[in-house]
Symmetry: C2
Subunit: 249 residues, 2 copies
């Protein structure tokens, strides 16, 4: 195994609706003196992807349903915000103070369906990208145009966790990188055959990127170099646990 | 933000009961040409800590209880293994094929209470360290003896997740590093006051370390350099969600 380096991509400008994220990230990389090399991974926070893809909603335009009003009373959140969360959800897993834990149309289970009012203008909420794998694929092509190299691309978002305080960034979209490193059935150093052993490397890479991006700084992307990944066609669906094996949905 | 580098610590020998982990890791670091500098973090996999601390059990010495036999029938695991899992648990959260999800005496919720038969001899199971924070503190002192610098120390273990395939390494013991970076109440670039925003940095660091350690290679530790953390007295309890706020226990 080699050393892995995680580099913040500074200088990405404020992203406006319709912006070309791949191009903006490539330009910021150049200004930092960074060029893509083979085997690089680029992690991009979903918020800027949502902005570029016009996944922004003005709260004032939302008419809350009766259930959104009930949910707001239970959670202590705004009825319009709850309405947006419900529109993004296909299944409610839990409701509690401040939060609906729900399953999104993509199959992710997370707080408030990923609808988020941080790092957006007043009264504006960002929804998750509609098809984060497609977003990752577009960014990958634009980065190829800029540098002549195909990177692994990960779109990340911030997830809370059951049982533990705090949040970790996880992958919500990928392109060109296997999200899991499956060692099930291989042997360890003692000759034991490993049971279910699938390292969630895309999630660990997203978390590593968060370490250099932070939440309040304007660093929405990171470059990861030196991690040997399985480069192949991939989809974030590979990370979603099938309903029949899920003990918590 | 600076670049963060994650370096595998190669050459740690097979750890025997009673071994001094801090000393072994320091020696391996020296042999790799690595020396600790201020601000470094060392992540160590719990398995070698369990071995050093004699937290190993021979399956043949275990007498399964009646409930362990029932649990084995339900999960499809060995009755003796189930007995060990139950002895390490204070609360069962879910039972399913291959797994009991339970809360350990430390307060961690994970598969099979962290009892694990990989990377151990045949018929031998490793239990989690009894007091992983104390293990981390010991290692930190030994690394200080070796290098004259106090590192942040994290003991990591592998956790599955609800809703998602694959596993991530998370922190189970810490010393000298705040496990959460709490930005709740600060303002983002738009002036929005951030709601519950606590990056689980110790977990993200543990996951980053896993990227260079892997599961089948004999790399049980990693050095992380360049991450600006809050250096202070700390305890892994800070990461355990209190029961009254937990929606999944």
């Amino acid at each position: 195994m080699n050393a892995v380096t995680v580099v913040p991509i500074q200088g990405v400008p404020e992203i406006r609706p319709g912006a070309d994220i791949g191009w903006e990230v490539a330009r910021a990389m150049r200004e930092c003196g960074l060029a893509l090399v083979g085997g690089d991974i680029v992690v991009i926070k979903s918020k800027i992807v949502s902005k570029a893809e016009r996944r922004l909603v003005f709260a004032k335009d939302i008419e809350p349903s009766a259930f959104a009003v009930s949910a707001a009373a239970l959670t202590g959140r705004e009825p319009r915000y709850m309405e947006l969360v419900l529109r993004e959800s296909v299944r409610i897993v839990r409701m509690g103070p401040g939060v609906i834990i729900s399953e999104t149309k993509h199959g992710f289970v997370l707080a408030n369906a990923g609808v988020d009012g941080s790092n957006t203008g007043a009264g504006v909420y960002a929804l998750l990208p509609e098809s984060p794998d497609a977003s990752a694929a577009n960014i990958r092509e634009r980065l190829f145009d800029a540098f002549g190299v195909y990177a692994g691309v990960i779109i990340s978002d911030t997830f809370g966790r059951p049982w533990r305080e705090g949040q970790c960034d996880l992958a919500i979209g990928i392109c060109g990188i296997a999200p899991l490193s499956d060692e099930t059935g291989t042997k360890d150093a003692y000759g034991n055959v490993l049971r279910y052993t699938k390292a969630a490397v895309a999630d660990e890479l997203a978390g590593a990127a968060e370490l250099v991006c932070g939440k309040t700084e304007n660093v929405p992307a990171a470059l990861i170099r030196g991690y040997e990944f399985e480069a192949r066609e991939s989809a974030i669906d590979e990370v979603i646990m099938p309903m029949e094996r899920d003990l918590f949905r």
